[in-house]
């Protein structure tokens, strides 16, 4: 008690559309100064959550707090959040400078002061206008828009429009920044470049930032923490490293990582020993989590290698990626498709149909129960073939 949680706090938020649950009790916290990426496939409810935080839409249940204040029932204007939209949503009839000034003039000037002609001579409006012009100039400077201030959005490139949208968001120093797939309309080269800039802007502004994307590489490279969302639920929130190497859930493991993680149906016996189609894997489940029966063993493509002993598979083709080589194969016992990342200098002669055996370090294997929950309490059996 007594500690004010700064930043964005979302508590058990639900939202239905036409009887269909779109958000099923989402909880998430973004601390002040933190950059959290919300990643998930299209249609999982990311934009819906953003709109609820911004106040454009209202939740059916749950609470939303910004800097410790319950804003669930407040209008967007009263929340002091800034949002960057996927389409940028710039006002086409206003110049760049006027676009950036909108959030300021809405806050600092009265209705009469904003009117086209009367506003100029209304008392106090000159000082307000001067202050706004100054802030617009410094936001434009931060985003390299100084030379474009008099242009209309239609005279700008996609990247420039995107900067205007960012400038409009930072100009009023909001308590929270929301960005909904802001890079998805840019070409690949510009996207990678703008990633760094957005992180830089976030550092300088220091506000809690929630960044929505369906692109996992954006999430992993930009964020302090990554929240993985699927079908209206947040599955895991953790650092990019932990999300990749130490997932809580099979759905997180399969969503993050490209090519996809390999999953093999496994069996856990009474001693906790894990087998794949009868083959002992060297992974033993111990401790309190002890269960038996069906499970899933997951291995990243880079954790498999060609070995003399290991799980048997049939080669199906090679794919050269430059920095590595992908071997596509099929597990002999279960028919599961497998992908192996090999060093590019290794050019094995593997015509489709040839038999390979794939080795792996059991310490790097991830074990999940039948419902997809991670089984963490595992140990390596020294010599699996002897057990």
């Amino acid at each position: 008690m007594g500690v004010i949680v700064t930043g964005i706090v979302v508590e058990k938020v639900t939202r239905h559309f036409a009887g269909q649950p779109v958000l099923k009790g989402v909880s998430l916290a973004v601390a002040a100064g933190e950059f959290v990426a919300l990643v998930g496939p299209s249609g999982c409810g990311k934009s819906t959550l953003m709109r609820l935080i911004a106040g454009i839409d209202r939740p059916d249940g749950g609470r939303i707090l910004i800097n410790g204040r319950d804003v669930t029932a407040l209008r967007p204007a009263a929340r002091n959040v800034a949002m960057v939209f996927q389409s940028y949503a710039l006002y086409p009839h206003l110049t760049v400078a006027e676009n950036i000034a909108v959030p300021l003039s809405m806050r600092r000037m009265g209705v009469a002061q904003r009117l086209p002609l009367i506003g100029r001579i209304w008392p106090g409006s000159r000082a307000a206008r001067r202050g706004i012009a100054e802030d617009v100039r410094s936001a434009a400077l931060a985003l390299g828009l100084t030379n474009l201030l008099e242009r209309r959005p239609s005279q700008l490139s996609g990247g420039q429009r995107q900067r205007v949208a960012l400038a409009r968001a930072i100009v009023r120093q909001p308590a929270a920044f929301l960005m909904d797939e802001p890079l998805s309309n840019l070409d690949a080269a510009l996207r990678v470049h703008t990633r760094r800039e957005i992180v830089e802007i976030h550092r300088r502004a220091g506000a809690a930032t929630l960044y929505v994307t369906h692109d996992q590489s954006e999430a992993l490279t930009m964020a302090d923490r990554v929240a993985v969302m699927q079908a209206g639920e947040i599955l895991q929130v953790a650092s990019p490293r932990a999300i990749y190497a130490d997932p809580d859930d099979l759905r997180v493991a399969t969503f993050i990582g490209s090519p996809r993680i390999n999953t093999l149906p496994a069996e856990i016996d009474g001693h906790g020993l894990t087998r794949v189609a009868g083959f002992p894997t060297g992974v033993r489940l111990c401790g309190a989590e002890r269960i038996t029966g069906a499970a899933t063993l997951a291995l990243r493509p880079e954790d498999l290698y060609l070995a003399d002993g290991g799980i048997p598979a049939t080669a199906e083709g090679l794919e050269f990626l430059g920095e590595s080589l992908l071997l596509h194969a099929r597990h002999v016992g279960t028919g599961t498709a497998l992908v192996v990342r090999l060093p590019p200098e290794l050019v094995p002669d593997l015509p489709p149909g040839s038999r390979v055996t794939l080795g792996f370090d059991p310490a790097r294997a991830l074990l999940f129960d039948a419902r997809g929950r991670r089984l963490r309490d595992t140990a390596v059996v020294p010599e699996p073939s002897l057990v």
């Binding site: 204007a77 006002y91 909108v102 959030p103 809405m106 239609s154 409009r168």
Partner: protein, 305 residues
């Protein structure tokens, strides 16, 4: 590569001639129809305007600008011009602002879009001449429901269509009713085309009221639609004819005379085709000026290029 291009060039030129011929052949019916049905009658009307031709007369003479100088002195024509300007000046803002307000209400509501659209579009698809008799009944001084209602509250309603004080207002009201549905449908289409995200952005930017969001998003983004509606409504109301013909015949005492009705009287009642053609030219000039205003002046202000 370049050799292939060089050797192909003459063949392409021959092909181009053949293609042009085919194009003309295919376009011929349309070109003929345009010439016979549109261009020639217009030319004929322009030529007629400089003659004293009367229907059935054995001969006609070129009289130069005499028809136009007569127009300048013709009190009836001046009255028709004044009335037409009045009609346009009332019907255009009335039906545009009314349609915009209705469109915003319908768009903001959750139900009944299709119903309201159909109800307000009805006057557009119904026959004006048939509807005019309904209006005649509604506005009838003694048996009309409008005056009956006014009597209930103690007001002695005027003879709407036969008093020179009210006749143009009554016709303008009918004109607004006629144009409203058409404009409404255009505005509804324009509103649907505004991305929802623009309103969300305006809200997040702090636009405090519906009026502010209208000023920041709806009105500017509706600009091209409004311009189109403005032009169409002005041209449609300059052309007012059938309600005048059916309800008042320009009366009482030419108090509701309008351009096209004056032209009709000259041409088809008095058979002064030359004079009638001169009125037509004035009408054409007005319509062309309105179209010029749209394409040259206003267009630049609503397309934010």
């Amino acid at each position: 590569m370049s050799e292939a291009v060089l050797s192909a060039a003459p063949a392409r030129r021959e092909g181009a001639t053949g293609e042009a011929l085919t194009a003309w052949a295919l376009g011929l019916p349309a070109v003929l129809a345009y010439l016979v049905l549109l261009l020639l009658p217009t030319l004929a009307a322009i030529l007629l305007a400089f003659t004293d031709y009367e229907l059935g007369a054995p001969a006609f003479a070129w009289i130069g600008l005499d028809n136009f100088s007569e127009l300048l002195r013709d009190r009836g024509f001046a009255q028709a011009l004044r009335n037409t300007v009045f009609y346009v000046a009332v019907v255009t803002p009335g039906s545009i602002l009314g349609a915009l307000a209705l469109a915003l209400l319908i768009e903001a509501g959750t139900r009944g879009r299709t119903l309201f659209r159909a109800v307000f579009f009805l006057p557009v698809v119904s026959l004006t001449v048939a509807m005019a008799s309904a209006w005649q009944y509604l506005l009838h001084p003694s048996i009309g429901p409008l005056n009956a209602v006014l009597r209930q509250v103690g007001i002695d309603g005027p003879a709407w269509l036969s008093s020179s004080d009210t006749v143009m207002w009554s016709l303008a009201a009918i004109g607004i009713w006629e144009n409203l549905g058409f404009n409404l449908v255009l505005f509804l289409a324009g509103l649907t085309a505004i991305p929802r995200e623009m309103y969300a952005a305006a809200e997040v930017d702090g636009a405090p009221s519906a009026w502010e969001r209208f000023r920041l998003v709806t009105w500017p983004m509706l600009g091209p639609t409004t311009l189109f509606v403005l032009t169409i409504t002005m041209i449609r109301s300059v052309r007012v004819f059938d309600t005048v013909k059916v309800l008042t015949q320009g009366g009482p005492n030419r108090a509701s005379e309008v351009l096209l009705h004056a032209m009709y009287l000259e041409g088809f009642t008095y058979f002064r085709l030359g004079y009638s053609a001169a009125i037509t030219l004035v009408f054409l000039a007005i319509v062309l000026a309105l179209m010029w205003l749209q394409t040259r002046v206003l267009d630049k202000r609503v397309h934010y290029g």
